[in-house]
């Protein structure tokens, strides 16, 4: 009885494989094109890479949302202490990136590449770009980008410049608002952040170096910071008061209930602004998609499929 059962199982499988092969012949399709290029272990490296990227960074919002860009730095394995979080990041990202390079996928809509390292830095940077969202972010704020970076700037040439060696560290240095827009925080929040940070710098530059007196350390708590900035504005006959007013409703997101899906994108935003509310909602949607995706057995296929688009 058992033998008959086994034979029928073998015949059943053969039939399925026959059907599969005929389907492949008829349509000329390759079911898992990347399988051919990678070993089983490399496929596992790649799967753990994407799972880790989505769990620990906002990379998923680039791929399954409207976040234009992710910069994910990780240290070299040799420069980190085994057992630490950064060592784990280094191992999983290094192995995954190696497998990803081997696949050599060219996508129309997305870009996942290691940023060129000058050799001086003890870390590598993964850059993940949603080209459409990137172009939209630049296009929607073109005047601001051109005011800061020059009149010839557009989405494409900015992307090319940023991807050149040391493009990120030089081109956007000091332009916090532009960085914020490209990282997906929207213009309003990014501009408030830049203005607020300029005020903070003014306060500390005025107080920390006063030779021959010793260095005044920056406050360690938000309350101390607020107190110091307020007293500075008071002492300057109200200079900076408008920025203080602007910062009044600018804070981190506080979830309304315990079981709420919280996007892992910590940034200060205008709590009463409609633009910010929409932004937050879109990130919550992306987070839901990602939670669902992480539970799928064909997680890697789906991600690679997305990256091929």
């Amino acid at each position: 009885m058992k033998i008959i059962k086994n034979i029928s199982l073998i015949l059943y499988r053969c039939f399925r494989y026959y059907i599969f092969i005929s389907f492949a012949l008829v349509t000329g399709c390759d079911p898992h094109p990347h399988c051919n290029k990678l070993t089983d272990l490399e496929n596992q490296y790649l799967e753990s890479f994407f799972r880790h990227l989505f769990e620990t960074t906002t990379g998923g919002y680039v791929l399954y949302g409207n976040k234009p860009l992710l910069l994910c730095p990780f240290k070299f394995i040799e420069k980190t202490i085994p057992g630490t979080i950064e060592h784990k990041d280094a191992v999983i990202f290094t192995q995954g990136l190696k497998a990803w390079k081997k696949l050599n996928i060219q996508s129309k809509n997305y870009l996942l590449v290691p940023l060129t390292n000058s050799g001086a830095e003890p870390f590598e940077v993964i850059i993940l770009i949603n080209k459409k969202a990137f172009n939209n972010a630049v296009q929607n704020n073109l005047s601001l980008f051109r005011f800061k970076l020059g009149p010839q700037v557009n989405g494409q040439n900015l992307l090319d410049s940023l991807l050149s060696p040391s493009g990120f560290s030089t081109l956007l240095k000091g332009h916090e608002a532009l960085q914020g827009i490209l990282f997906g925080y929207e213009a309003e929040n990014s501009l408030t952040y830049e203005r607020g940070n300029a005020l903070r710098k003014m306060v500390f530059d005025a107080s920390k170096v006063n030779p021959p007196f010793q260095y005044n350390f920056e406050p360690t708590t938000p309350e101390e910071l607020k107190e110091q900035i307020t007293s500075y504005v008071d002492s300057q006959a109200g200079v900076g008061q408008s920025i203080l007013d602007e910062l009044a409703d600018f804070s981190f997101y506080v979830p309304e209930n315990e079981d709420e899906i919280i996007p892992k994108i910590p940034f200060s935003y205008h709590t009463k602004s409609e633009e910010s509310k929409k932004l937050l909602e879109s990130y919550k949607e992306s987070e839901k998609t990602l939670i669902n995706l992480q539970a799928q057995k064909d997680f890697l296929d789906q991600v690679l499929g997305r990256l091929k688009q």
Binding site: R13, F15, R16, Y17, Y18, I19, F20, S22, F23, A24, V26, T27, P31, H32, C35, D40, L41, N43, Q44, Y45, E47, S48, R51, I77, E78, I81, P82, G83, T84, H87, K88, V91, I92, T94, Q95, A120, E121, P122, K208, V209, P211, P212, F213, Q214, Y215, F217, E218, T220, K297, D298, L300, D301
Partner: protein, 324 residues
């Protein structure tokens, strides 16, 4: 017609096929049920002690610190602890060291400051207080004992501060006459250099940026400072005072650091910690490793070959993904 039937049959077949475990991609779940060693070849398993030892050597490339690193490994082996947490001091040191590494300008400033201070310390009449960090020279001797060690001193001083290229950075001579303050308010390196000064004495104090405004400061480009100070008046109180000689840059990350915290000892603690944490990590996941064998390989001059590095990365990946 036949082609259509064939396509339909193929589609149905593919649906079945997707359910077949033979075609399922091996995933992290299947990895959990196996041991790490099963994923390594016999040859790789044999080379494991050498690979681990050489990877540990990678972590501590400077021979000067190797003894502290080995000490950490030995401590971890004897304590058999599975997990070591960084103390706040070590975390602060790690942040500080990371920031220094990230900016080549800072590394250059540190080198220039070290060179400048070595030169000043080696000059005739120089009195070192902290080796290669703070020293001074008496330019004009005083008349009467002024600042006493260990007490709060209210002082009246004239001063100038210059950078490493002798450019003037700050001073009070042309501005508002002598400056009144307490020693505890001054740059730590300057306060330390003024201890024991006589009235009317003029000293030139050479201070590492670590004990002034820090290597990240724009003041004096974050390099060593030359502070010339003349003591005009001095009154002493009963309150005990010693300048806090914790590095300014380190204090940013560790605001409540004890006074005796210094970078050199923190660096040593950090390296010992690296040894402890690394060995406890490997020992926890690969209990078959023997310390003596690892120590033997650590003494060798070999370095990790690309092939061994690949095995190491595979091993580490297996350890991390198996834990999940």
């Amino acid at each position: 017609m036949i082609k259509k039937i064939l396509i339909l049959a193929s589609v149905v077949g593919c649906i079945f096929l997707c359910k077949d475990p033979a075609f399922a991609r091996p995933n992290q779940g299947s990895l959990n049920s196996t041991t790490i060693m099963q994923h390594l070849t016999q040859e790789e398993q044999k080379r494991l002690p050498l690979i681990i030892a050489l990877s540990l050597k990678d972590l501590c490339p400077e021979r000067a610190h190797f003894a502290s690193f080995i000490q950490g490994i030995k401590i971890a082996d004897s304590e058999k602890a599975s997990n070591y947490q960084e103390s706040p001091e070590i975390q602060a040191y790690m942040q500080y060291a990371m920031q220094i590494t990230l900016d080549p300008k800072i590394t250059k400033n540190l080198a220039l400051s070290a060179e400048y201070l070595q030169k000043k310390q080696g000059a005739e009449g120089s009195i070192p207080l902290i080796n290669d960090k703070i020293c001074y020279k008496i330019l004009k001797t005083g008349i009467k004992k002024g600042i006493e060690d260990g007490s709060i001193n209210n002082v009246k001083i004239n001063f100038t501060i210059k950078g490493t290229d002798n450019n003037f950075l700050a001073g009070n001579y042309t501005l508002s006459g002598p400056l009144s303050c307490t020693l505890s308010e001054l740059i730590p390196g300057m306060a330390h250099g003024m201890l024991g000064m006589y009235l009317s004495e003029v000293r030139e104090i050479y201070v590492h940026p670590e004990f002034a405004y820090g290597v990240f400061s724009n003041f004096g480009n974050g390099r060593a400072l030359t502070i010339q100070v003349e003591l005009i008046e001095c009154t002493t109180t009963d309150t005990i005072f010693q300048p806090c000689l914790i590095s300014t840059d380190l204090a940013k990350f560790l605001p409540n650091a004890p006074k005796e915290t210094d970078i050199t000892s923190l660096q040593k603690d950090f390296i010992t910690f690296c040894g402890k944490a690394s060995w406890s990590f490997y020992k926890q996941h690969l209990p078959q490793l023997h310390l003596d064998e690892i120590l033997h390989h650590l003494q060798s001059d070999s370095v990790l070959s690309p092939e061994n590095r690949e095995t190491l990365y595979k091993l580490l990946w297996l350890i991390y993904t198996q834990r999940e």
